[in-house]
Amino acid sequence: MIKIKKLHKSYPVGKDFLHVLKGIDLHIKEGEFVSIMGSSGSGKSTLLNIVGLLDIHDEGSYYLNGQKIESLDEKKAAILRNKFLGFVFQSFNLISYKTALENVALPLYYKGIGRKERQEIALNYLDKVGLKDWAKHLPNELSGGQKQRVAIARALVANPKVVLADEPTGALDSTTTDSVMELLKDINDEGMTVFVITHEQEVADQTDRIVTLKDGVIISDEITEKGKKTKHYV
């Protein structure tokens, strides 16, 4: 599903360049549940943004669903994001003046799906994350855990190939963290590829595979106890 080879990325800082990713090789197959760990500044978000087509890499190659990603213009990138990718952010990134339902329905709007159908599908997904009764509420009327569940529903609604989550539990307490992780596990059980950034060991342990990043290189790539029981790694 995601195939990365010798990927490099640097950011211009003043006159110099900050070399953030220094040759990443990573292969994530369809249906995997992978977490990236690493200290702050190790390049986790950078990697996820490149995978999410929100940013572009400098060197190396990246294949998403078999398609080589290179010299994409913004329009093509938007179409691919809409088609293949669902995003979950640490700060939820819900649109404040739209209801939970409208937020969830937004990717379908950009997919060109009609209003009625959109609302139906969105309501289904809200139901799936247990928030059907909150459909008409604005984000500021929801708790942190609820917001993140709305965001997950939004990430899923367009039926993507991969869900990308950048520290989805970073702003949540431990109980809500567990419920969000449960939700991600359920999604994965249904066959969705899930790619999560975290710096919490307990969170990482609930995934099937932990990739550890340090100073822009992968220093370890291990299957968890849970992972050893799944079909991907037996």
């Binding site: 943004n49 999410g52 929100l54 940013d55 913004e74 329009k75 938007a78 179409i79 994001r81 809409n82 088609k83 995003f87 952010f89 990134n93 649109i95 003046y97 739209k98 937004l106 990717p107 709007y109 950009y110 997919k111 209003r115 939004r154 367009a158």
Partner: protein, 413 residues
Amino acid sequence: MKFIFDRDTWQEIYGSIRKNKLRTGITIIGVMWGIFLLVVLLGAARGMENNFNKMFGDFATNSVFIWGQSTSKPFKGFQEGKRIRLKISDANYVRSEIKGIEFVVPRNQSQGFVVNKFKSLTTGVYGDFPLLDKVQKKNLVYGRFINENDIKEKKKVCVINDDIYKQLFDKGEYPIGTYIKINDINYLIIGHYKNKRMGGGPQGGIHIPFTTFQQVYNQGENIGWIMVTAKPNVNIVQVEADAKLLLNNLHKVHPKDGRAFGSFNLGDRIKKITGFLTGMQFLTWFVGIATLIAGVFAIGNILLITVKERTKEIGIRRALGAKPGEIRRQIVLESVFLTMIAGALGIIFGGFVLMIIDTMWGHGEGAALVNPTVNIPVILIAFITLIVLGTLIGLIPAQIAVSVRPIEALRDE
């Protein structure tokens, strides 16, 4: 174009406008004010023009009045101060010698004491040819104007205007066929006309045949003044100069003597007023459009600010699959929508104010403005200009909105 009719498009616009109510309101006022000014000022200018046309509409305006005065230079043995009187023959010479002349109408005038039964008044009495009706169209309520037969037979007939009618007759009385006394001579009333008196020359409201006037007032070949009307595109100032030079020559007056003949150049006077009116309209357009542009810029500016404030939201939308074109057209549409709303409000308020102006100053005898209106095409042009400007100005914030990379937009706080 389908997206224009899409309910979601408008919901998006509504959502973003609702978030910035006050600011949106204030910027709308800018554009509104511009088009309001345009409508009201153009309407007022039109009202003045209409008023002007009403006053001179029945008048051959490309005209000059010329009368005899006294010489101011000695010439060919004559002392200065010689009294000059125009003759019928002068009128014929002017008509045949000067280029570009349409009509030359000789006229006479004298004071008359007029009596009808128990009512009386003193007014100017004119001796006129039927031709007068050509250069100062008489809107006859009843009867007819003087004709050739009246001239030939020196008939004792007269045509009166509405002022005279009102003073000599009771309301609703039919004047035609009745006799009035002018300086103790009976005249049969043959016509009653309605125009307001306009243009140069002495005041008065009764016209009798020129020949009758000659006989009754013992004028011989003398005439009071001539009204010279040039063809529409002929320069009336030149005609005036040529005619005066010719008359100086005919009356053996020094060619440089500018006092021997007096004149009032109606055409020149009217040209100055229309020039002023055109200037007014030009100024109106200038002020209106400048205000409009300023208003549209304000809208562009506000959109720029909202776009900056919405950077993160736009980033989220793009992460969810919004194409740059979709973001762009949304912002442009917002701009066009705001300018259109503002424009429509401005036009409505402008029209409303014109209605008020019309009821306050647009009616009655001395109305300053007649029918102050603005043409639909003018409104359409202004409106279309507004939409075009709104589109163009909206392109700037739209471009800025998509020029931020999604990843940077998402990082925005």
